[in-house]
Amino acid sequence: MKLIILLLVLILIFLLAYPIINSLEFFESVPLSNWMSFDWLPGQGLYGMMTPLTGSFLLVLITLPLSLFIGWMLSLQLVDNRRNWINPVIVGILEVWISLPSVIIGVWAIIELIPAVRRTFGGTGYSLLATSIGLTIFIVPICTLLFYRSYLSHLDQYQGIENSFQMSALSRSELFIKSQPTAVIGTANYIFCRIFGETMVVLMLSGNSLQIPHTLFQSFRSLTAAIALEMAYAAGMHEKALFAMSSLAIVLILTVLLVQYKRLINV
């Protein structure tokens, strides 16, 4: 039994290491100054990955606080109304929404959101703002349910603390963060990975221009969208550069996950 489980774990580790092994040739032959630059012109031998990486980070920077805030507020109202009929309805909707393909959110956003952004702010509508809103709608259900379940699982303890600290200056949210830092930080970590790794919504709404957006209304390209977009026609060193991009994503997410591993397994 131990051998079978060890074998399963080793297969998983091998699978995660496979793109990194495949991109070693790229990292050996292309100098650091080349792939750490902002120029992505594979035809001319320029493989700067910083432009899509910056796009991904900007997206995370806007979407992460937005999703956490809305998810937090929704989960607080769900806990407050846990004996009301609206609670199971909303929880049911959130559960279905979690499994909803991201392309459906993309289709909805192209029909409703992009024209609205275009009408209100001008431009094409395919922008950092539209992508952030679309992605927030996609991420909020996951975020809300994670917070809600953390609340529920620690409700007795939390209620006790809340009752005893009723006269204190701490707000309800501060009380939860202080009593359950693991749940809060673990959820934030997981949501970071989800936003950074989301491909389809970003691919459909960002406009995919290879530039760093200077305003919220400009088009951009994220790391994952770049891989999805160019993989269909890439060959040779261009293809290897895309494998290297995915290795970069693996290393980044591994770092984020392993730094907070002990907190994360408790969520």
């Binding site: 039994m1 131990k2 079978i4 489980i5 060890l6 399963l8 774990v9 998983l12 699978l15 995660l16 496979y18 793109p19 507020m73 929704l74 109202q77 407050d80 109304n81 609206i86 309805v89 909303i90 049911g92 909707i93 559960e95 279905v96 929404w97 499994s99 909803l100 393909p101 991201s102 392309v103 459906i104 993309g106 289709v107 909805w108 192209i110 029909i111 409703e112 709608i137 997981y190 990975c193 950074f196 790794g197 989301e198 491909t199 389809m200 691919l203 459909m204 994952t224 891989i227 999805a228 993989m231 494998f243 995915s246 994503a249 693996i250 997410i253 996950l257 392993l258 591993y261 994360l264």
Partner: protein, 253 residues
């Protein structure tokens, strides 16, 4: 009245937003480009992935629920591998699938490659779902089973399924919904052929990738993308109501 709205305003707002989103999709249905091959290929690939990944995921869930005892280093390694895989972007899993299954193992763009890629994607979801149902089961019956001489494998594969049929079906359906929902992982491995697949080695276009192509690449494809999205939403709603009914039916048994 004002007090009720104040207490639940965000929930009402969310409910309204959801209804308005669904209303966007309610238009006359159009199916000009959708073939039976796409539907059948999607069902076979996603269901096959769920059924194949269920067994190893159930075994690992047994480890994480404390039914199967392992040395602490192996236990930690198992948890770490599952949580890392859960956090990986699906496009990265798609790249792994493309490199390993399509390229190195020579399966090419096929249903088999897409299925194997989906197994990687589903594995952490199923492990989490199974361990959530096995942990309380082990706390309740684990010690008693041990005193009757029931081994961990018998507890895991004989007693737990007998007592928790409904919850296991629930977890499998969650896995199926997850596999239906992912596009990025399969778009690099399944290909884009719309004809009826004759074997598992045939290339096929999965439904969610088909919706993406209709919305982005096929001129005038948006009404059909909207129709398929509506059908998928309705199907997922049934998929989530189904296990609850099954739970009730099996509980009455």
């Amino acid at each position: 009245m004002f007090e009720i709205i104040r207490k639940r305003w965000l929930l009402w707002l969310y409910l309204l937003l959801t209804l308005s989103m669904i209303a966007t999709f309610i238009r006359p249905l159009q199916f000009a480009h959708t073939t039976a091959g796409i539907i059948v290929g999607t069902v076979i690939t996603t269901l096959g992935a769920v059924l194949v990944s269920a067994l190893p995921a159930y075994l690992i869930a047994g480890v994480m629920a404390g039914i199967i005892r392992l040395p602490s280093w192996l236990q930690s390694l198992t948890s770490v591998s599952v949580y890392i895989l859960a956090g990986m972007p699906s496009i990265v899993l798609g790249i792994i699938g493309f490199l390993l299954f399509c390229d190195t193992l020579g399966f090419g763009w096929s249903m088999l490659s897409a299925m194997l890629t989906l197994i990687m994607l589903l594995y952490p979801t199923l492990v989490t779902a199974f361990s959530q149902l096995l942990r309380p089961f082990n706390q309740r019956y684990g010690m008693a089973a041990k005193s009757f001489g029931v081994g961990p494998l018998e507890l895991l594969f004989r007693l737990a399924p007998a007592y928790q049929k409904g919850k296991i079906i629930d977890a499998l359906i969650l896995g199926w919904a997850t596999s239906l929902g992912d596009t990025a992982a399969v778009m690099l491995t399944c290909g884009a052929v719309t004809t009826f697949p004759e074997s598992i080695m045939d290339s096929v276009r999965l439904l969610n990738f088909h919706i993406y192509l209709l919305a982005m690449d096929i001129p005038g494809g948006m009404p059909e993308a909207r129709s398929l999205s509506l059908l998928l939403i309705i199907f997922l709603l049934f998929l989530f109501i189904g296990p609850r009914l099954a739970n009730r039916y099996l509980a009455e048994d």
